[in-house]
Amino acid sequence: MLTLEGLDVWRGPSQVLRGIDLQVRAGEIVALLGTNGAGKTSTLLTISGQLRPRAGRSTLEIDGRRHDLAKLDPAAIVGLGVAHCPEGRQVFGGMTVLENLRLGAYLRDAAGVPADLEAMFGLFPILAERRSGLAGQLSGGEQMMLAIARALMSRPRLLLLDEPSLGLAPQLVEQIFTTIEEIRANGTTVLLVEQNAALALELADRAYVLESGAVHLEGQASSLAADPRVREAYLGLGPTAVEAVL
């Protein structure tokens, strides 16, 4: 569904992505891991059209048609069915929860919106309770749910999630990850950026590890979880028992 080939991206005077190759197939959950400053957020921003690549291609294939994302503006990319739930939640703090959700459906015609609102309230009951409260007055976890729900309101085919677990209590992280699984079950493909590598590798089908703006490792989530380099650097674990014996 999404193919990045040889992507070079610059921010100001510095190059932040160096020849990124990455693929996301329809129906997958793909995790994007890496240390702080590795370029995960920049990758997502490039996909959603906020950053422009200097070289390389970023192609979206939807219903058998290919779209060159580097040539489209951010609104058109949203229109194709790519929703980006940004790092740090970024809800509209001075607007109500309901208004935030409606803005998520900004590009859709109004017909299906009420039904989808109800669906979101089913997924996150707390949002229903707070629907006419200001988003800025929600707790961090509630804002995260609002941010995810807002992204889902566009009925995305591909959901880009940037660190949904950031700053949340473990049970809530658990709950959010369960929700991501549900989202995939409903037919949305997910590209997930995470610091919590252990959980992400458990949830994802495949994963990429970025380092200094380049793809360092890639593979099936399960085999990456067993890779000693990943275990040491990202999972904070020693080598597996078998390797220790060898």
């Binding site: 951010p74 949203v78 940004p86 509209f92 803005l103 900004y106």
Partner: protein, 298 residues
């Protein structure tokens, strides 16, 4: 000091306040969405006034079509200024934006002087607009009544537009958080252009009405009202639309009462009073009457 005199002063304050509100609202809206203090906002008044003069005297158009043309032309002008001067600098520090706007203001004023000379010209609306009305013994012209009614109608329309319409929602979202707005599929530059267009249209209309009351216009006529609209916006809380309206009326009343109720000797100090008031407000309540803290951006 009779009751009639006080009533007359109150009416005058309301008229002046309406004009300030109409200018300040656009000013505040532009600040709210791009954090730009737009010094050139006032000079759109001048363009509105000269456009009206040309359409009325040269083409002899009826008043309603003159109003529509002024609104349209000034909206387009404001959007063009945004496109050429401000949009390329969106990611630059805020201070660059307002220095640019100062440059645009000087440019517009001096283009006016170059093309139209600095001499004031008489500006006359059709005679019926100048007719007198009697309100409980106080006097106001049809034009004055028009100013007040237009302000109320326009402000109500604006509030409805910003709160209810799709584009209005997009403008509010952009003001809150441009990145998130863009991720929702909002075309941020279009939302900003809309704010400039609305602000420009209102400033142009205010310019025409202002000129109608003053009876003469010149290329520098817009600068002082523009600055005073900034004061009004600060009083109300910069970035807040209801605040701008409230601030406009507060300033209008304060200014008229200052001149009207104090001995005539002080009348000449009117402009000094307005800016003294600005410094006082900044000292005691920098967020204005209705503003949120201006130190943070959502």
């Amino acid at each position: 000091m009779s009751g009639g005199y006080v009533l007359q002063q109150l009416i005058n304050g309301m008229i002046l306040g309406s004009l300030y509100a109409m200018i300040a609202v656009g000013f505040s809206m532009i600040y709210g969405i791009v954090r730009l203090i737009n010094f050139a906002h006032g000079d759109i008044l001048m363009v509105g006034a000269f456009t009206a003069l040309a359409l009325l005297t040269v083409l002899g158009l009826p008043l309603w079509s003159v109003i529509l043309s002024v609104l349209t032309l000034c909206a387009i002008l404001a959007m063009a200024i945004d496109l050429v001067a401000f949009r390329p600098q969106r990611s630059a520090p805020q201070v660059n934006g307002f220095i640019t706007s100062l440059g645009v203001a000087i440019l517009m004023q001096n283009l006016g002087v170059l093309l139209l000379t600095g001499q004031p010209r008489p500006f006359n609306l059709p005679p019926w607009v100048k007719g007198n009305l009697d309100v409980l013994g106080a006097r106001m012209t049809v034009l004055d009544l028009m100013i007040v009614i237009l302000t109320v109608v326009v402000m109500a329309g604006l509030v409805l537009f910003v709160r209810r319409s799709r584009l209005g929602m997009a403008m509010r979202a952009t003001a809150e958080n441009p990145l998130a707005a863009s991720l929702m599929g909002i075309r941020v530059n279009r939302a900003i252009a809309t704010a400039f267009a609305l602000g420009g249209a209102l400033a142009g209309l205010a310019g025409m009405l202002w000129a109608g009351r003053a009876g003469q216009i010149d290329p520098l006529m817009g600068f002082l009202p523009g600055l005073k609209a900034f004061v009004a916006a600060v009083i109300g809380g910069v970035g807040s639309l209801p605040g701008a309206v409230l601030g406009g009326f507060v300033l209008g009343f304060a200014e008229v009462l200052f001149v009207g109720l104090l001995p005539p000797l002080y009348g000449a100090y009117r402009d000094a009073f307005v800016f003294g008031l600005l410094i006082l407000i900044l000292l005691v309540m920098p967020n204005g009457l209705l503003g949120r803290s201006q130190e943070e951006r959502a």
